[in-house]
């Protein structure tokens, strides 16, 4: 079981299916927590969206693993308390959408930061809960405005971004308060690239792991470009897709273009060696 389900599951199968983690009373907690942690807790003010910066990269360049481990641990402690994500599958998001209200479609701050995307091309993030009502007060945080959606419209948005190849992640804003469904890709997402490039777990792997059935795989390779985590490759010796289970984040995106339906999502807990790999 993942730490978050254990702490905040409240009897539900997953912590993000527990309605209490979307409750308004937690929103108050978030404000105090975020303010107490200073300006670094504001991902926008940090510039470049990084929880660890040049100092970590310099330690990496000189092979100083001790400093890297310390910085990683410190960054993770702050992130897990305030703002971190966990990858979920499309099916899970669809279930979550029926739990949340209101649902707002907003622009992605990460992609604005890395690509300078104009607002009209950048509506990929879903925000939910009482925080959405304050968008007019914070025009810079909600650049481009807020489109409120019905649950059906939100599911259509998820379908579109999923086909585009974006990974769905649940984000906390003052853990365990869940207020964002981000649709992310490497390397533009600050969370994914920090996790993948630096091993800082600001995004946790999901509860599933993808497996290829080699008898079904026809070697078309369409799945490979769907992986944002460098977990999927094409084996030139077998002419089939190859998944590294230890790198797989369980987003399920690789399944979607697979005509022979050769990729199956299995429960992380069913594989003892990866059950604790988050």
């Amino acid at each position: 079981m993942c730490d978050w389900c254990e702490q905040y599951g409240g009897g539900y199968e997953r912590w993000y299916f527990n309605p209490a983690n979307y409750a308004r009373r937690l929103y108050k907690v978030r404000r105090e927590e975020a303010e107490a942690s200073g300006p670094e807790a504001n991902p926008q003010a940090a510039g470049g969206m990084s929880v660890v910066g040049r100092e970590f990269l310099e330690a990496q360049a000189r092979g100083d693993h001790e400093t890297m481990a310390r910085m990683r641990r410190d960054a993770e402690q702050v992130s897990w308390r305030i703002h971190f994500g966990q990858v979920v599958t499309k099916e899970e998001v669809e279930r979550i959408i029926d739990l949340i209200y209101p649902i707002g479609l907003m622009t992605c701050v990460c992609r604005r930061s890395m690509r300078g995307l104009p607002d009209e091309e950048n509506f990929t993030c879903i925000g939910m809960g009482p925080g959405m009502y304050k968008w007019e007060r914070w025009p810079d945080t909600y650049r481009g405005g807020m489109n409120f959606l019905t649950p059906e419209e939100a599911k259509q948005v998820i379908d579109v971004v999923n086909r585009r190849g974006l990974v769905h992640c649940m984000y906390t804003f003052g853990t365990p308060y869940l207020a964002g469904i981000c649709n992310c890709d490497y390397p533009d997402c600050g969370g994914l690239r920090t996790a993948v490039d630096m091993g800082v777990r600001v995004v946790w792997k999901g509860h599933s792991v993808a497996q290829v059935d080699p008898d079904r795989c026809n070697g078309c390779g369409l799945c490979v470009r769907r992986c944002q985590f460098k977990a999927l490759s094409f084996s030139s010796s077998t002419l089939k897709a190859h998944i590294d289970a230890f790198k797989c984040y369980g987003c399920g995106l690789c399944r979607n273009p697979c005509k022979p339906d050769a990729i199956e999502m299995v429960d992380r807990a069913s594989l003892p060696a990866v059950a604790g790999v988050w």
């Binding site: 300006p39 504001n42 926008q44 003010a45 940090a46 510039g47 470049g48 969206m49 990084s50 910066g53 040049r54 990269l57 310099e58 990496q60 360049a61 000189r62 604005r112 930061s113 890395m114 690509r115 300078g116 007060r137 914070w138 025009p139 810079d140 945080t141 650049r143 390397p187 533009d188 690239r193 490039d197």
Partner: protein, 84 residues
Amino acid sequence: MLPTIQVDDSKCSDPLRCRLCLLACPTRVLGLGTNVAPKKYQETPPSHFIVRGVRYQFCTACQKCVEVCPHGAISVSYDRGVTA
């Protein structure tokens, strides 16, 4: 050894609109941020947006961002053979 990337903010007035360097970088090193926290009822003015190196470890010092900048605001240097 990481490259040094310097941006002269006084020459770079509206990077969110321009974004040429962000798009030119083949390894997605550069990022855009603000040098002020968001304010209530106020969009951050363009002059407070800044470009900085983010993913230094992927910078090849190819100078494409330097070449594409219409204002000559970026410089990238890499000291060959010098280890930290």
